[in-house]
C-alpha cells in the first residue's frame, strides 16, 4: 500500500516536473522556430544558442513586482490564474505516455479531460472580470464565448473515435488502433479537431481573447509577474494536452516500429507543436464574429454529419 502510494507520488512528481520543463522549453522552441521562419535568430544571448532563456524568463517573472490594480477584485484576481494553471496541469494525470507510463489509468479518461478542460476558461473569464478594467473584460467575454463553443466542436470531433474504439479509456483507445490509426477512419474529425484545438488554445488565427493588436493583451492585460506566468504556463500546458489528445485519439498514441513507445509518443507530439508554431508564423487573425460563424455554421454541421456517417457505416459493417 505504502509502496503503491510512493510510486504514484513519484510518478506525479516526474510527470509534472517534466511537464513544466517541457512547457518552459516549448516557449524556447516556439521563439526559435518562428525566429528562423522570419529570417532572424530568436534568443541567442542567455546560454549557448539561448538555451537558458526560458529559465532566465521564469526568474525574471518570479522577482517582478506583484501588481494588483486598484479597481481589481483582489481575491478573484489571485484565484483566476491558479485555477487556470491547475486545471490544465491536472489533465496530465490521465495521459498515457506509453503503455505503462502514466500517473493513473482512468476508465473514463476522455470524459475526465473534456470536463476538467472546460473549467480552465472559467479562470480566464474570472481574470477578465476581476481585473476591473475594460480591455480585460472584452477579452474575458470573447474567451468565454470562444472557448466554450469550441469545446463543443472539440468534444463532437472526438465522438467518432469513441464510437470506433468503444471505450472512454485512453489506453484502450490506443490499443484499438493497433492495426490502423484512427486518422484513416476519421479524417474529417481529425481536421475539425485540429482547427478546434487552435480555437481552444487561443492561438493565431483564433487568438482573439488576447489579440494584442486589438485588446492590448486581452484578459491578462493587468497581470504581471508570476501571476502572468501562470497564464502563460497554462497556455502552453494546454498545448501539450491538446497535442497528447490528438496523438492518442488519432495518431495511434505510443504505437510505432523499432523505437520505444514513449519516444514515438514524443515525436508525434512534437509534430503537433510544430504545426501550432507554423500556423502562427503564417496566418493573420480572424475577426471575432467571423470566428464564431466558422464554428457554428461550418464546423458544427460537418462534425455532426461525421458522427452520423460513422454510425451508419458501423451499423452496416
Amino acid at each position: 500500500m505504502v509502496q503503491e502510494l510512493a510510486l504514484v507520488i513519484i510518478k506525479m512528481i516526474v510527470v509534472f516536473s517534466l511537464a513544466l520543463l517541457v512547457v518552459a522549453y516549448l516557449t524556447y522552441l516556439e521563439r526559435k522556430i518562428i525566429g528562423h521562419m522570419q529570417l532572424r535568430l530568436g534568443p541567442m544571448r542567455v546560454g549557448p544558442h539561448g538555451l537558458l532563456q526560458p529559465i532566465a524568463d521564469g526568474l525574471k517573472l518570479f522577482v517582478k513586482e506583484d501588481i494588483v490594480p486598484l479597481e481589481a477584485n483582489k481575491w478573484t484576481f489571485y484565484f483566476a490564474p491558479i485555477l487556470t494553471l491547475v486545471m490544465s496541469l491536472v489533465l496530465l494525470a490521465v495521459i498515457p505516455f506509453s503503455r505503462n507510463f502514466m500517473v493513473t489509468r482512468l476508465n473514463i479518461g476522455v470524459l475526465y479531460i473534456l470536463s476538467l478542460a472546460s473549467v480552465g476558461p472559467m479562470g480566464i473569464l474570472l481574470a477578465g472580470w476581476a481585473s476591473g478594467s475594460k480591455y480585460p473584460i472584452l477579452g474575458g467575454l470573447r474567451s468565454a464565448a470562444q472557448m466554450f463553443s469550441y469545446e463543443i466542436f472539440l468534444g463532437f470531433s472526438i465522438i467518432g473515435v469513441l464510437m470506433i474504439s468503444g471505450s472512454l479509456d485512453l489506453v484502450k483507445i490506443v490499443e484499438a488502433q493497433s492495426k490502423m490509426w484512427n486518422i484513416v477512419y476519421q479524417p474529417v474529425a481529425f481536421v475539425i479537431y485540429v482547427i478546434a484545438a487552435l480555437g481552444e488554445l487561443n492561438r493565431i488565427p483564433f487568438d482573439l481573447p488576447e489579440a494584442e493588436n486589438e485588446l492590448v493583451a486581452g484578459f491578462h492585460t493587468e497581470y504581471s509577474g508570476f501571476k502572468f506566468a501562470y497564464f502563460f504556463l497554462a497556455e502552453y500546458a494546454n498545448m501539450i494536452i491538446v497535442s497528447c489528445m490528438a496523438v492518442i485519439l488519432f495518431l495511434g498514441g505510443w504505437k510505432g516500429p523499432v523505437l520505444p513507445g514513449i519516444i514515438w509518443f514524443l515525436i508525434k507530439m512534437c509534430a503537433f507543436f510544430y504545426y501550432f508554431i507554423w500556423v502562427r508564423g503564417t496566418f493573420p487573425r480572424y475577426r471575432y464574429d467571423q470566428f464564431m460563424r466558422i464554428g457554428w455554421k461550418i464546423m458544427l454541421p460537418v462534425v455532426l454529419a461525421n458522427i452520423v456517417v460513422t454510425g451508419v457505416v458501423m451499423m452496416l459493417a
Binding site: 529570417l39 480591455y135 472584452l138 488565427p205 486589438e214 487573425r285 467571423q290
Partner: protein, 390 residues
Amino acid sequence: MLEKGLLDKGSIEGQVADDLMKKALKTKELWINMGPQHPSTHGVLRLILALEGERIVDSEVVIGYLHRGMEKLAESLTYPQFLPYTDRLDYISSNAMNFGYVLAMEKLMGLEVPERAQYIRVMMAELTRISSHLVWLATHALDIGAMTVFLYCFRDREAILDLFEMVCGARLITSYFRIGGVANDLPEGFIEQARDFCKIFPKKAKDYDDLILKNRMWLSRTVNVANISGEEGLNLGLSGPSIRGSGVYWDIRKDEPYSGYDKLDWEIAVEPGCDVYARYLVRLKEMRESCKIVKQCLDILEKMEGPVMAKVPKVIKPPEGEVYACVEAPKGELGFYIVSDGSTKPYRLKIRAPSFANLISLPTMIKGHLVADVIAAIGSIDIVLGEVDR
C-alpha cells in the same frame, strides 16, 4: 470610471471627452480608450470608442501627443534651417517631406533646378515611397495578425536605407534635399546597387503576395471593411493611396506634374473597392510603379552629366509674397504654404500634412464596425503621428 472622467476637464480634449460622456450617460455603451499607449495605434494616436458589445457606435480621434509646434518653430528659423525639421514630419519618408518644402521654396524664389538634381530627387522620392509602403505593409499585416510579413518587409526596407546611407550618410532622417538642388551628387557604385535593388524587389514583393494577397483570412478581414466612397473621401480631404482605393483617379504626380514626373512612364494605381483591401492593393501596385520609375531615373542619370545645385545666394531671402506647393507624398497630398515678408525667416508657414487630413475620415470609416476593424482601418489609411501632430 465614467463619472470620474477620462481626462482633466480644462483642456480641449477634456471637453471633447466630456461631451462624449454626456451622451454616454444616457445609454449603456462601453467607453474605451484606445491609445495613446496601445500596440496598434501607430505611435501616440488616441481613440475614444463607444462600444455596444464590440460594435462601434461612436468614436473620437484625439491627437496632439506628439505636437512639437513645427509651424511656429519655422517662424524663428531661417529657410535652410527649417529643412531638417521637415524630416521629422513623416519620419519614415523624410525625402518626400524635404521635397515638398524645397519645391515650395523654389516656387517662391523662382529658382530653376538643374535637370540632374530633379531626376535624383524623383528617384529618391520614389525609393522613399517604396520604403514607406513597406513599413505600412509590415505594420498593417502585423495589426491583422500576420507576423511574418512584418519581418520580410523590414528586411527589404533595409536595402533602401542602405542606399540612402550611401547618398547622404543618414538612413532615416536624411535631409538630403536643398533649396535649389540636392546636397551632393550620387556616389560611385550607387547606380549599380540601386539597379540590384530594382531587380530583386519585384521578386520580394511576390513573397508578400504569396503570404497574404489571396489568403482567405486576410480577405475576410479586409474586404468590405471600413468602406468610404470616393465622394465622401474627397469631402473629408482624403488623399493619396487612401482615396485612390475608393476609385478616385487623382495623383498629384500626374495631375500637376513636378520635377519631371511627366517625362517618365508610369501608371496611377487606382482600385474601385472603397475598402481596406482596395487601399492595400493600391499601395502594392504603387510600390511596383515606383520601382519602375526608379529604374527609368537610373537609366537617365547614368547618361546625364551636370550640376546638382542651382546658383543659390548664400543668404536666402525670398521676395515678399506667398506660395503653395504640393507633392504626392507616400501618404497623400503634402502641401507647404509659405508667407514671406522678404526677410530670411518665413512670416508664416503652414503644412498640409496628408496623415492629418486622412485621419479625419477614420470615424466615418469605422462607424458600425467591430473593434477589430478599427485596427484594420487605421492601418489602411497609413498615418504617421509625427505628421499628424507636427
